[in-house]
Amino acid sequence: MAGAPLASTSATLNRRAANGNPRVRALLIALTIGFLSIFILAPLVNVFAQAFAKGLDGYLAVFWPPSPPEGATLGVIQQRKLAEAAVQSERTWSAIRLTLAVAAVVVPLNIVFGLAAAWATTKFRFRGRALLVSLIDLPFSVSPVVAGLVFVLLLGRNGVFGDWATHLSWPDPFSLRWVGFDAGFPLDFERDFTGVIFTPLAIVMASIFVTFPFVARSLTPLMESQGTDEELAALSLGASGWRTFWKITAPNVKWALLYGVILCTARAFGEFGAVSVVSGHIDVNDTMPLRIEKLWNEYNNQAAFTVASVLTLLAVFTLVAKTAIEWKTARDHATAEGKQ
């Protein structure tokens, strides 16, 4: 009650201060809009303008190349063009599949790592806790290229621990096929990968490295402020640790967790530097950002921007989802505060 008039007074003061000099206000707003237009909006528009440079057909042709008309006789050059387009689109699809697959592995792992790290650093007090907290932040301050190189140095042929990792054999999950009951187990992998570096496994590892802090960082402040009382209360009432987690902790952190997951997903989709180093520039190891670079280097601007536009759409979606969660959390917070 007592706070209400005070709050409104300070709000009025703020408004007056903000409206104090109309010229300053106009200048600042113009500056912000100008900056955003030049550095954010113009490039964004350009991505779509370039992607649609050959119209909607050209846009779609990047993913679904035109097949030759039935019974038409084509010149050699045209035939080669069509074949080339088919190869290119298959590579694009391969990049999209790999990107999604990497994210599908990285994000769930990060949810587990992030929850564990946030839990450990906020709900327990132990020696070296501060060090652990800064270590979690390390990927933010290390250049992704360096991160990629670290993996090459660790797991490559001249690795610090020898070349054992280059002999490692692991099955390609995409090659899982139904082989019938003759061989015993009906499912089997048709292909194996050998080595870690320059395979999708290295891409997954590099992506985990660069995305690790997102989930942990979005959970830590919240878990820190919530403390352990609610969990202890649940435990004292006889609830198991498992039940306490699902009924008390999880509902309390779900929005922060989703926020972290969205940021983590966006980064996993968009990571270039670290992934580029460990991919070995092999076509089958291309993720979407790597694919965009290759198309660009092959002077296929329109296709490059078309793939880029897909990533951009994803970024826009991320932004909307992120804003929605922020808005919802702020509103929940306001209602909780207001009713206290």
Binding site: D229, E230, L232, A234, L235, S236, L237, G238, I248, N252
Partner: protein
């Protein structure tokens, strides 16, 4: 249920919070742990609850003569009420109270009808039957505290542990709620320990008070005894206002005497004040309703606080600068203790 703890110590990072504590609580007793912040009272409560582990080499925590030192928090069958309630924010009042019943293992879990009945009876007990669908954020502080109590009582604990149960409430609600707690205890007779730094609260509500200081129990006795026969200068000083006189004891050792302001007689006539009356000058008069606070200055320039009842003050008809005689009615003499 009786509770007995023997020789309990607890340190955090080299700092000793509890030093060899012994305490025995009879079945059905309501005991207050009273002390300034940092005296270890909350830590002691948490050790009894099983939230904290006592140091290696400590004695046992006995519930009904059974050692529970190695029994998990959830298995000790205690009801713990946290200072800031620790209600489950995302559950309404009903679900908060029912949580402990729903968390029981399947075999012991009551039926849904029984859970409803039990929860409803607890809601009636705390007089919040009409607010069962509200969320914690929609309740006042006092209501939240009562919900936290009902939640703890739902699992029929053998002992009720309350950490500063009224610490976060305003004065009026505090007084009301502690009387309510006393009545509740007289109805359900569950062994109860509560932590407080408020002397008035401890003295008014409890059967026995354990006054704590720097990790030790200074005195453990019924409220009247603690107040009238403080075992140490610390207890005397902590329980109320006092005057400190330096002098010599009857054994002619240097000592100090502590006197409550209301234990000083004051009169205009030296003979009426008492045998060893000394002169003083009134320097300040503070009206406090039923009690009037008078500040005197003696010849050797020491200040003496005196409290008299309003009728006595009217009869004395004192003004600032008046010369009066005062005598100590009930002084506690201590030889200063240099051994720590």
């Amino acid at each position: 249920m009786t509770i007995e703890i023997r020789n309990i110590s607890k340190s955090y990072g080299g700092e000793r919070i509890l030093r060899d504590i012994d305490l025995k609580i009879n079945s059905g007793e309501l005991v207050a742990l009273l002390g300034p912040s940092g005296s270890g009272k909350t830590t002691l409560l948490r050790v009894i609850a099983g939230i904290e582990q006592a140091d290696e080499g400590s004695g046992p925590v006995l519930f009904d003569d059974v050692d529970v030192s190695n029994v998990d928090l959830g298995k000790r069958r205690i009801g713990f009420v946290f200072q800031h309630y620790a209600l489950f924010k995302h559950m309404n009042v009903f679900e908060n109270i029912a949580f402990g019943l729903r968390a029981k293992p399947r075999r012991e879990r009551p039926s849904e009808a029984q859970i409803r009945e039990k929860t409803q009876s607890l809601l009636d007990l705390i007089q919040l039957g009409n607010l069962s669908q509200r969320y914690p954020s929609q309740l006042s502080g006092g209501q939240r505290q009562r919900v936290a109590l009902a939640r703890a009582l739902a699992v029929e604990p053998r002992v009720l542990l309350l950490d500063e149960p009224f610490g976060a409430l305003d004065a009026t609600v505090r007084r009301e709620l502690r009387r309510w707690l006393r009545r509740l205890h007289d109805t359900i007779h569950v062994t109860t320990i509560f932590v407080t730094h408020d002397q008035e609260e401890a003295l008014e509500v409890s059967d026995r008070v354990a006054v704590m200081n720097a990790g030790r129990i200074e005195q453990y006795a019924p409220p009247q005894e603690v107040y009238e026969k403080p075992a140490s200068p610390f207890v005397f000083k902590f329980l109320g206002n006092y005057n400190l006189f330096h002098g010599r004891t009857r054994g002619d050792e240097p000592g100090e005497a502590l006197v409550r302001p209301h234990d000083i007689a004051i009169a205009r006539d030296p003979n009426a004040a008492g045998a060893s009356a000394r002169p003083g000058v009134v320097t300040h008069i503070g009206f406090g309703g039923a009690v009037v606070k008078i500040e005197l200055e003696t010849e050797d320039k020491t200040h003496v606080d005196v409290e008299v009842s309003a009728p006595t003050f009217r009869d004395l008809n004192l003004k600032r600068g008046d010369k009066v005689w005062f005598a100590l009615r009930n002084a506690q003499e201590y030889v200063p203790d240099f051994v720590i």
